[in-house]
């Protein structure tokens, strides 16, 4: 079977068009686990995406105040480079992924391709209202992140389509990501939360991982906090913060499985959200 190592998106989508059963391969940290376990056996062509310059790079659009990140940019690059500074929540999420070996290979596009509700990059993309650019031999289209993630390991990718990039708006305000797992390193999220406080727009965004079939936003909690927060200091009164945490927990739709119980997960996302908002105001004081 042919293995293709294209260096352009056009060449990659031509291979996908020629073989609809082709398998896309980025860092392999999800795909190869399934192959090694015998759960997945590539039968058609393999199209390797991490030699496509457009997918390996990122660019800042100053006019649009946005950054476009290629699908094959690794966690290591996000964690150690300017991307982690421009998007601190994404940097924090990247730092929590697996081990150095996994972060060297694993990519944001692969996280989206797998679309696990526990994917650490995904709550950040959801809270920042990312858009995802897809390409096929018929052309390109841009899909909002909320429409891209359809369900547990289900995406809006059509046959013959691939992820090219993710575009994130630069936010004036505060953002953070936190996750609960059984230990500090090499652990899949039992529950995770991303909070974005957009001071310019006076908008709050909260996204939750591992507590539903896919990443969940919390519109009620977001509106409530946007009304109660002091947008200058990012301080929130104690009772308002408690109500916010309760609304975040109420927005979760967790299940009990081998990693944790629904009750614990529901509780944990409230705690994480409250902790992140507290961190926002304390960091605000020190700068």
């Amino acid at each position: 079977m042919p293995v293709h190592l294209p260096d352009t998106v056009d060449a990659a989508v031509a291979h996908l068009a020629a073989d609809p059963s082709a398998t896309l391969l980025a860092g392999g940290t999800d795909l190869m686990v399934e192959v090694n376990d015998g759960h997945r056996r590539p039968s058609g062509d393999v199209v390797v995406v991490n030699r496509i310059a457009e997918l390996r790079s990122w660019r800042r659009d100053a006019a649009a105040r946005a950054v476009t990140i290629g699908a094959a940019v690794s966690y290591r690059e996000i964690e150690t480079g300017p991307l982690g500074e421009m998007f601190p929540a994404l940097g924090e999420a990247a730092r929590t992924v697996g081990s150095p070996q996994i972060r060297n290979a694993g990519t944001l596009g692969g996280n989206l391709g797998t679309c696990s509700p526990a994917g650490d990059g995904l709550p950040v993309l959801a809270a920042l209202d990312a858009t995802v650019e897809l390409a096929s031999s018929h052309g390109r289209r841009v899909v909002p992140i909320g429409e891209f993630m359809v369900g547990v390991k289900r995406t809006a990718l059509a046959p013959g389509e691939m992820i090219v990039s993710i575009t994130l708006p630069l936010i004036d305000g505060w953002q953070g990501y936190a996750k609960v797992g059984v230990r500090n390193a090499m652990v899949i999220a039992v529950a995770s939360t991303c909070v974005v406080l957009d001071r310019a727009q006076r908008r709050v965004a909260v996204a939750l991982g591992s507590v539903g079939p896919t990443i969940l936003r919390c519109p009620e909690a977001e509106h409530d906090l946007a009304a109660s927060i002091d947008w200058e200091t990012l301080r929130v009164a104690g009772e308002d913060l408690e109500r916010f945490a309760t609304l975040v927990s109420a927005a979760s739709r967790p299940i009990t499985d081998h990693r944790s119980t629904a009750e614990y997960r529901r509780h944990a996302v409230g705690v994480l959200a409250r902790r992140l908002v507290r961190r926002a105001s304390s960091e605000e004081v020190t700068v």
Partner: protein, 162 residues
């Protein structure tokens, strides 16, 4: 660039190695051990959890069990066999022996790869940094204390040599 999944050439430790009869999806770990006879790279979990199969591909430390071998053509691959010739260990290897950081030895090749990579990027890592950077290499014998000591020894010795 395209090639057939069952016949390709890898650049391993600076040597062109022909791979034949490989199956599509075969990991670099299996190709190194079973087809190229390079037994230094160890395989245990085959899920990227244990790090015993760590190698460098294109200058980056990865788990070879998660690299589809056929995707690694035209990229320099360095395995434990490429770190130092038999009989003249690298400074990291020597420090592991001196510090007693080797017990059963199964995790050692992966750890040596990870430590060489770490010290390339950070000449004087703190203990916390060492622990974080080696989080992907599991050792069930030592309790890690002597491994950390070995890393610190090399960092100090290299600093002194400068």
């Amino acid at each position: 660039m395209s090639h057939d999944s069952d016949h390709y050439v890898l650049d391993v430790n600076g040597v062109r190695r022909e791979v034949t009869d490989s199956w599509l999806g075969e990991s670099l770990l299996d190709v190194l051990r079973d087809r190229l006879g390079l037994m230094g790279t160890k395989g245990a979990c085959e899920q990227g959890e244990c790090g015993s199969c760590s190698v460098m591909v294109d200058g980056v430390l990865v788990c070879s069990c998660l690299v589809m071998a056929a995707s690694a053509v035209d990229q320099p691959i360095v395995t434990i066999e490429g770190i130092a010739p038999v009989g003249s260990p690298s400074d990291v290897q020597a420090a592991f022996v001196e510090a007693g950081a080797v017990q059963c030895g199964f995790c050692t090749p992966g750890l040596i790869m990870a430590v060489h990579d770490l010290l390339e990027r950070d000449v004087m890592p703190s203990e916390t940094e060492i622990r974080e950077e080696l989080a992907g290499n599991v050792c069930r014998c030592t309790g890690y204390g002597r491994i950390i000591e070995a890393v610190q020894r090399v960092a100090v010795e290299r600093g002194r040599a400068q």
